[in-house]
């Protein structure tokens, strides 16, 4: 080690996010030597929450990760499942969800755009062509100017990146809740397809093999990003974090993507890895760790966008649109030629060694040397100290619906409420059809569906109702997973695998630790029950601003298969004269933690009502089979807003009305009961339509009540002793409530 290197010391280490004990451990790992600038920068990033999963790794180990369809579980850049008709199929779907919450809170357009860029790189880093994007967004109420701004810019950023790179955005979700006001969530999920034989891992093997960096040049983007932007609570000092904003360049990434896939197709690579959080530091160390090798890197060889960058800056820069690969020495020329062809010029910046150490050079000078294992594996893991909160963590939502409102107006208010209103004004800013696989676009089916080359279909859904998770982290998370599976069932798809993004507050606080523990317990149980193992995911902690933690938001993304894409279900009523019914529920839904309760300003309950998971799985099986057989005209799962809102959604999507003939009791039914029937929420309910025979056949398997006929241009309701009617136009107007947010 050159002794010209300065030693920043423990206070600097703490400023970079390490604890005193962690710093002492670093010194131990360096055989008693204090880390110099390069080493401290690298340790502080790799030992950050974001890279080391210090507070979540132990929990994540409890998740189910194995199953028949699983091709690659967590650990690589993305997990993957086998898809296609043939169970031993060579066709693989890689998928993963990732968050870019804090960067998006600082600069929503670039934060969201680079979030999409990052997750796409994870997909093609394992050799899969990205074929779809989904987004999961959370903002404060749209009455807040800041929330509207964040929404507008984040949606624009996602569209900008996805549209420009030619990957369709086929689904997603957005919720507006006050606890996200100062800490929005921007999660992006991507799916890719590959042939098993063309896939690649990131393990750097073959001592003497060169390490090639290609793509964008390196600037001072996001320096300190992983530890500062991604792991610290946002406070008033946001201004100071500004210079670290990273700007996304989808054009560069498009070239990088095509180049990477061509390199793999030609069989030129030993290993491939994207550069994400913590830049070269994380990518190179992970590659060496997985390959059980070491690595020498010369920062002087890294093409720079800005002059005068210090070695540590080069090592931690988070400049976007860069990849790292390893090839054998005889392939270097070919590899560089292909990178040149795609204008993403590759440069040899180092080589694989047998030292088991990361050695960083600046020209001839050694400026850092650390054991790979210490960097990647030896960060201390912390036990959570969960304690169930004794008093409510979240204030009751602000009431927006006055007490005395008719059933009819309540329905219209719900249909126009921010969490239920049409998402079209968002989705129409995304290209859902590029690549020509999209069989079900947003707003046509509960899950998005892609067609695979063998004619089978791939369904995908992403979901999480954070308010319900806040009410009951365990059951709320099970509900999120069940909701994904219900969406897939409506498309005719059976779950194959799951990804998740655990968005939570500060895990060092006992109540947040409790939310996290309960949510992961629920997630594991649900995925086991659904036989949809977790193949990957992401954890985003410390999501809290000055006004408290976000709702716990374990976003669940699920991928499923259907044998015939042409039989994919639709959500909208489709045929005049069909009958429609409500399937699945074996108990009355509850208003607690429902959308209506929110509009009425009711506080969150302590716990959600129980439900029978096995019964819901049986219902999903029956719905899925009915959809696949082509017997049903439509299928839609009942979610936010309950039964009545679900029917309205079927009418809106199909552009056709319906009659709703609840049993007229003749006597006065208490309003609470009517509210619960019409607007209560509970997992496992479905609105189905079709011929009488089709519904009767389905009723043999699961609870199903037929309520009326499809047809006309209004929704005509008779329930208890009440009757009312809403025209399709009235529903449309109410449903378009988000339109003004995108002037």
């Amino acid at each position: 080690m050159s002794d010209t290197q300065s030693v920043p010391g423990v206070e600097q280490a703490i400023a970079l996010g390490l604890t005193r004990d962690e710093y002492a451990l670093v010194i131990e790992k360096l055989d008693g030597r204090e880390p110099n600038e390069v080493e401290l920068a690298m340790f502080s990033l790799l030992w950050s929450e974001h890279c080391a999963y210090k507070h979540s790794k132990k929990l994540l180990r409890t998740l189910p990760t194995e199953g028949d369809a699983v091709f690659m579980g967590p650990g690589e850049n993305a997990g993957a499942v086998r898809v296609g008709l043939d169970p031993d199929s060579d066709l693989i779907c890689a998928f993963k969800v990732e968050s870019h919450n804090h960067p998006s809170a600082v600069e929503p357009f670039q934060g969201a755009a680079t979030g999409v860029g990052g997750i796409l790189r994870d997909i093609f880093a394992i050799g899969a062509r990205p074929v779809a994007i989904l987004d999961a967004l959370r903002f404060g109420e749209p009455t807040s100017e800041r929330s509207r701004y964040l929404l507008d810019r984040a949606v624009a950023g996602i569209g900008h990146y996805g549209n420009s790179i030619g990957v369709p955005t086929i689904g997603g979700e957005v919720y507006f809740e006050a606890p996200y006001e100062t800490n929005c969530l921007v999660n992006a999920m991507a799916l890719g397809l590959a042939n098993a034989g063309d896939m690649i891992r990131s393990a750097a093997t073959g001592v003497g093999n060169p390490l090639i960096l290609f793509g964008a040049s390196t600037g001072r983007d996001g320096i300190g990003g992983a530890s500062v932007l991604a792991s610290a609570e946002l406070g008033d000092a946001d201004e100071d974090k500004r210079p670290t904003v990273q700007v996304g360049d989808p054009f560069e990434e498009k070239k990088l993507l095509e180049c990477s896939l061509e390199l793999l197709e030609k069989g030129l690579l030993v290993a491939l890895q994207d550069l994400g959080a913590a830049g070269l530091t994380s990518s190179a160390s992970e590659m060496a760790s997985k390959g059980e090798t070491g690595m020498d890197i010369d920062v002087a060889k890294v093409p720079l966008r800005e002059p005068g960058m210090a070695p540590f800056e080069i090592m931690v820069s988070e400049s976007q649109e860069r990849m790292l690969c390893v090839c054998t020495p005889d392939r270097v020329e070919e590899v560089i030629a292909i990178t040149d062809k795609w204008l993403v010029h590759g440069t040899v910046i180092g080589s694989v060694t047998d030292t088991r150490a990361m050695r960083i050079f600046d020209g001839d000078e050694l400026v850092g040397e650390m054991p790979v294992e210490a960097l990647v594996d030896d960060c201390p893991l912390y036990d959570l100290e969960p304690v169930k909160p004794s008093s409510p963590l979240y204030p009751a939502p602000v009431a927006t619906l006055p007490g005395e409102v008719s059933l009819r107006d309540t329905l219209l208010a719900l249909v126009g409420s921010p969490n239920i209103a049409s998402r079209l004004p968002l989705f129409e800013q995304y290209d859902p059809v590029v690549q020509s696989r999209t069989v079900r676009r947003p707003n046509t089916c509960d899950a998005a569906v892609l067609q695979l080359p063998d004619g089978s279909g791939l369904g995908v859904s992403i979901d999480c109702n954070g308010r319900r998770v806040a009410a009951d982290p365990y059951r709320g998370t099970i509900e999120a997973a069940l909701e994904c599976a219900s969406n897939l069932a409506c498309a005719g798809a059976k779950p194959l695998g799951t990804t998740n993004n655990l968005n939570f507050g500060n895990p060092e606080k006992p109540e947040i630790a409790w939310q996290l523990t309960e949510a992961v317990r629920g997630l594991g149980e649900a995925c086991r029950a659904l036989d949809a193992p977790i193949v990957g995911g992401n954890v985003s902690l410390y999501n809290q601003g000055t006004d408290g933690p976000i709702y716990p938001t374990p976003v669940v993304g699920m991928v499923g298969a259907l044998p015939d894409a042409s039989k994919a279900g639709v959500l909208g009523f489709a045929r005049e004269g069909d009958l429609w019914g409500l399937a699945g529920w074996n108990a009355l839904p509850s208003l607690e933690a429902s959308e209506l309760a929110k509009l009425r300003g009711e506080a969150l309950p302590d716990g959600l009502p129980e439900f029978d998971v096995d019964h819901i799985l049986a219902t999903q099986d029956a719905i899925r089979e009915a959809v696949r057989s082509g017997a049903l005209s439509s299928a839609h799962d009942v979610a936010e807003g309950g039964f009545a809102v679900a029917i309205a959604e079927c009418c809106l999507a199909g552009g056709i009305g319906a009659q709703f003939l609840g049993e007229p009791t003749g006597e006065e039914t208490p309003r609470e009961v009517l509210d619960a029937i019409l607007f209560g929420e509970r997992p496992g309910g479905f609105i189905v339509s079709g011929s009488e025979e089709a519904l009767e056949a389905l009723a043999e398997r699961i609870p199903l009540d037929i309520f009326g006929e499809v047809g006309g241009d209004s929704l005509d309701v008779v329930v208890g002793d009440e009757t009312f009617s809403v025209t399709l136009d009235e529903l449309r107007t109410a449903h378009a409530a988000l339109r003004p947010l995108f002037p």
Binding site: V106, E107, Q110, A216, S217, G219, R220, D221, R242, P243, V245, Q246, V247, G248, D249, F251, E252, R305, E306, S319, Q320, L343
Partner: protein, 79 residues
């Protein structure tokens, strides 16, 4: 009074357009062009000149990632 505001990516912030344009030019027959930076220009009529700086900060430029410069203010009283 007529004002013109020039907005460009801050020093150190990636300018994807500039990079792409500069990279593409030689192969397309344009030689001898380098250091390309692409920014925006806003021209406007403003009654109260003293509001211009505020306007730039709040609306015209994204000061997180962009610098702005007020280059010409015709009809202004000389300082």
């Amino acid at each position: 009074m007529k004002a013109r505001v020039l907005i460009r990516p801050k020093a150190g912030i990636l300018d994807p357009q500039g990079v792409a344009v500069e990279q593409a030019l030689p192969a397309l027959g344009f030689t001898g062009v380098s250091e390309v930076r692409v920014g925006r220009m806003v021209e406007l009529e403003i009654a109260d000149e003293s509001q211009l700086d505020q306007l730039c900060q709040k609306l015209l430029a994204n000061t997180l990632i962009e610098d702005y410069e007020i280059v010409s203010v015709e009809g202004a009283v000389a300082p």
